[in-house]
């Protein structure tokens, strides 16, 4: 099982004269949690919907579990679970009825009660779906995507619009998916989400991948430090350097020689947030 779960090579997608995806490449290994991270309108959803079989690509190579999703093979739909960015459910059924119905669409479904438990909906099992809260509906989205026991789960912006508690709960569910050995492809514009969940991420902007790697490796600032201090006039200075030792030595020597204190001296590493923003802005 060495073949990647997802393979994308030089993917392009145009809507009329608008090029939403302009040559995206990435691979997702089996059992990996992979994130497409980027600002709104970067082409994340278009890419995922091509992989889910909702859209036809303009050009490029795409393989999902060894199938071409553009042909929408039934075999592939049996092995994949999809959480769309936003879509409703039937209103006049209970959570359990809906899950049981969905289970019946798949050849080897998971036990409905087990899925309710996994999604945190056990208490709402007999509630009509139209009475669920927004967070509960999102958990139902997860449950519906899981009940067919898929090998691969797509999550398109799984926590957008959530309050912090609901986000943590959703993250727990994604982590449990990973523990079950599922491959997960998620899109997000939240950096902390990508950091918390993903083994690897691809940063997408304007239809292109501008960086790929583990969240920690993605940090090109690993070799960069920012040194800041305030001079005797109270003016704030900042300088970036690969080697803060020399700079600090110089600064402290000068300060000692002049007998002036170095106020507000700090040495910091850029956060991933800053690196991400820098990448996204620099590329434009």
């Amino acid at each position: 099982m060495d073949a990647p779960a997802i393979l994308v090579r030089d993917l392009h997608k145009s809507y009329g004269s608008v090029e939403a995806v302009r040559g995206i490449d990435f691979e997702v290994a089996r059992g990996e949690v992979f994130g497409l991270l980027g600002p709104n309108g970067a082409g994340k959803t278009t890419t995922v919907e091509i992989l889910e079989g909702y859209r036809a690509r303009t050009s490029g190579i795409v393989s999902v579990l060894g199938h071409d999703p553009g042909r929408r093979p039934a075999e592939l739909r049996r092995r994949v679970g999809i959480v769309l960015q936003s879509s409703a459910v039937y209103r006049h059924v209970s959570v359990r009825e809906l899950l049981a119905h969905w289970a019946g669409l798949y050849p080897k479904p998971r036990d409905v009660d087990e899925v309710l438990e996994l999604a945190g909906l056990t208490e709402q099992a007999d509630v009509r779906t139209r009475k669920l809260s927004g967070g509960q509906l999102r958990r139902l989205d997860f449950a519906l995507a899981l009940v067919g026991d898929p090998e691969l789960v797509f999550l398109d912006e799984p926590t957008t619009g959530f309050d912090p508690t609901a986000r943590r709960a959703a993250w727990q569910t994604v982590r449990r998916l990973a523990e079950l050995g599922k491959t997960v492809l998620l899109t997000t514009h939240y950096l902390d989400e990508a950091q918390a969940l993903c083994d690897r991420v691809a940063i997408v902007k304007d239809g292109r991948v501008i960086a790929t790697g583990a969240p920690a490796e993605l940090d090109p600032g690993a070799a960069r430090y920012r040194v800041a201090w305030r001079d005797s006039d109270g003016e704030l200075h900042g300088r970036e350097t690969a080697d803060p030792t020399a700079l600090l030595h110089q600064l402290t020597s000068e300060a000692l020689a002049h007998g002036e204190p170095l106020r507000d001296l700090s040495v910091t590493r850029p956060t991933l947030e800053e690196v991400y923003l820098e990448l996204v802005e620099a590329d434009g």
């Binding site: 909702y54 739909r77 009825e97």
Partner: protein, 246 residues
């Protein structure tokens, strides 16, 4: 194939269950035609000729409301809410899903026709249908035609808010000129010509022949058939699983 039939049957049963739990759907499908039957029946009380026109007219109206109107509303709602898109991501075969929807509409049409026929005999003494075979043929043709036209109409409806406007803009004038409530022959020539070109007048003429005289004109099937072919073409060609993006 066995798998598709099993899944289609499950979907059909779910559609039935959801239908009965949704009072407004049940009202529009069943109560409205019966209300019209009761009201116009009272207006025409004792007027044999008009009652003989009204009962097949309401039968035709029932077919339109259980297929064209119901599908126009429901499919638009399902599409705009993203439910169709969600279903499309599951292993449900497209044919199984559409068959379940069609089966659901046919079941409603059959129940409704049954009620109208019984009411026609018991309340209005028009007698039992003279020719059940003709009735079956025309009912089947009407259900097929108006179901496909309903699916085709969904393609023209841009969003969920405008569904009632589009459906009613087609449905209300159609029933007004097609001889549901009065003999279409008595309408002004211009309206009659328009009605003659539309399928409902011919469906009602056929139902009337089958139910009242026992001698329906098969030529009426031709017009219904032409609209069925046109409806099928537009329904298949225009069908969309997703709401349009802005």
């Amino acid at each position: 194939m066995a798998e598709a039939i099993r899944i289609g049957w499950r979907q059909y049963r779910l559609e039935r269950r959801m239908f009965w739990r949704n009072p407004s759907a049940a009202f529009f499908n069943f109560a409205l035609p019966l209300l019209f039957l009761a009201l116009f029946g009272a207006i025409y009380a004792g007027d044999r000729e008009n009652i003989d026109v009204l009962v097949p007219g309401i039968a035709g109206l029932s077919i339109v409301s259980t297929t064209f109107v119901a599908l126009g509303h429901n499919l638009t709602f399902l599409r705009e809410q993203g439910i169709l898109k969600r279903l499309r991501g599951t292993p449900m075969p497209t044919g199984a899903y559409l068959a379940a929807l069609a089966g659901h509409a046919v079941t409603n049409a059959v129940i409704q026709l049954g009620i109208v026929i019984v009411a026609g005999e018991v309340v209005f003494s028009v007698g039992w249908p003279r020719d059940w075979l003709q009735l079956g043929v025309f009912a089947a043709a009407g259900v097929t035609c108006f179901a496909l036209l309903g699916v085709a109409l969904v393609h023209a409806i841009p969003n969920a808010d405008s569904a009632p406007a589009y459906v009613n803009a087609a449905f209300l004038p159609l029933i007004a000129i097609s001889g549901v409530f009065y003999d279409a022959e008595e309408a002004p020539a211009a309206l009659r010509d328009i009605a003659e070109a539309l399928p409902l007048t011919h469906l009602i003429d056929g139902l009337s022949g089958a139910m009242v005289t026992g001698a329906a004109h098969w030529s009426d099937l031709v017009v219904v058939g032409i609209w069925t072919v046109g409806g099928a073409f537009l329904a298949i060609r225009g069908f969309s699983w997703e709401a349009r993006r802005d």
